[in-house]
């Protein structure tokens, strides 16, 4: 009935689609890394264009809605949050691309170590993104709070990965290149989790108008 509802639906679909593409990208990039299937990376890097397109579409739609529909209250909070969610999800995709790019190089060398913590990071980060976007679209405050809690797990995993990699470097300085690359991969997962947290915070703002205290900067 209300025109703005159509536009909001359009936004929701775009956000959901972008999220699912980004998650696919993470999974493909990770799969390429963990199973050493470099052919997957190309796909990820190419898909990024699609994400950029949707990103643009979302921003345009937001401008359009604001210009034409003059959203208020809950609608307004949602629409403005979409701008930020869009930035966050776009960063998630960027990080997936980063993983793929590092992966390309990593896979050129023998596997440095069995991947144990990194897949864990992947699992949690991916789930966080998925849940965060869901709870953003559903304005689910409780779920959002749960997601924000999880960020710490990923942070801790990263520290663990860094420690482990350092031992490898100390062991054999030739490992350094691969180790550093894996370090950046870990960082990418951590950033992805961070962006998921951002989206979860936006979910809370959209639902309640309450700005969740900025997370403190982590080590």
């Amino acid at each position: 009935m209300v025109k703005i509802d159509d536009d909001i639906r359009e936004l929701r679909i775009r956000i959901a689609k972008m999220a699912s593409i980004s998650i696919d990208m993470i999974e493909k990039a990770s799969e390429g890394l963990f199973s050493r299937k470099s052919e997957l990376f190309d796909d990820v890097i190419k898909t990024d264009n699609l994400v950029d397109e949707i990103d643009n579409d979302i921003d345009k739609t937001v401008v359009k809605i604001c210009a034409i529909r003059h959203p208020e209250a809950g609608d307004l909070r949602f629409i403005l949050s979409c701008v930020k969610a869009n930035v966050a999800i776009e960063r998630v995709a960027d990080n997936a691309v980063n993983i793929a790019e590092w992966g390309l190089k990593i896979n050129k060398y023998p596997q440095l170590k069995p991947y144990i913590d990194l897949p864990k990071m992947r699992d949690i980060a991916t789930e966080m993104v998925k849940d965060a976007v869901d709870s953003f679209l559903d304005r689910d405050v409780d779920k959002s709070r749960e997601i924000i809690e999880k960020d710490e797990i990923v942070d801790n995993l990263e520290i663990q990965v860094i420690r482990e990699l350092m031992t490898y470097i100390v062991e054999d300085a030739h490992n350094i290149k691969t180790a550093l690359r894996l370090l950046y991969v870990a960082r990418a997962y951590e950033r992805i989790a961070d962006q998921a947290t951002n989206v979860a915070e936006l979910a809370i703002f959209t639902a309640t108008g309450e700005v969740v205290k900025h997370r403190r900067i982590k080590e």
């Binding site: 025109k3 359009k64 210009a67 034409i68």
Partner: protein, 251 residues
Amino acid sequence: MNQVLLSVKDLNFFYGETQILHNIDLDIYKNRTTALIGPSGCGKTTFLRCFNRMHDLYRNNRYEGEILYKGENILKVKDLIELRSKIGMVFQRPTPFPMSIFDNVAYGLKLKGVKDKKKIRERVEKALVGAALWDEVKDKLYSPALDLSGGQQQRMVIARALAVEPDIILFDEPTSALDPIATSKIEELLSNLKKITTILIVTHNMQQAARVSDFTAFIYKGHLIEFEETEKLFTNPKEELTERYITGRFG
């Protein structure tokens, strides 16, 4: 994809000695809604009324230039009766004729000489359905149109215009005499109407123009300043003047 239905070329209009419209060039696209916006007195209504030669009802009005429509210049057409049955018009205030709802909607058909009762009935129903009024009036088609509420009257007037299957309908601030709820109904109707016809609408309310139209023309002091897709015009107008107008920095 956007097919030109009417093409305004270098249109000038004069009330007596005073020139109101200056060198307007504009295309009206088929099955699209085109909105005319601009400050009060800029000539929107005057422009709109060129399309069905309403100005001919009064003396001392003069057109120059052309409005091309199916290869003919509207401004030179001799048979206004024929022309006006192709180009419908809806006014600011609802204008139900003092007859039954049915007779109102059938009026244009009768003028056209349609005699076949069954055909008239069909067309009336179709028009009322098209104007999203059928359900509300189907049980009282023969009661006076004046008994309808303002919003219903306006939709009936739209049905009346639709009944003769015009190529284009001109709207002159069709909601400015209505309350907000009736207004939003008409706006919804407008967005659906373009499936079956072409719409040219004058509105005072910029937001309304933004909501209902595909193209928007900004007129200022009788000049066409900018003509653009609505979305473009409202998010990124080319002209400084347009920008100032739509951001409320005028006057």
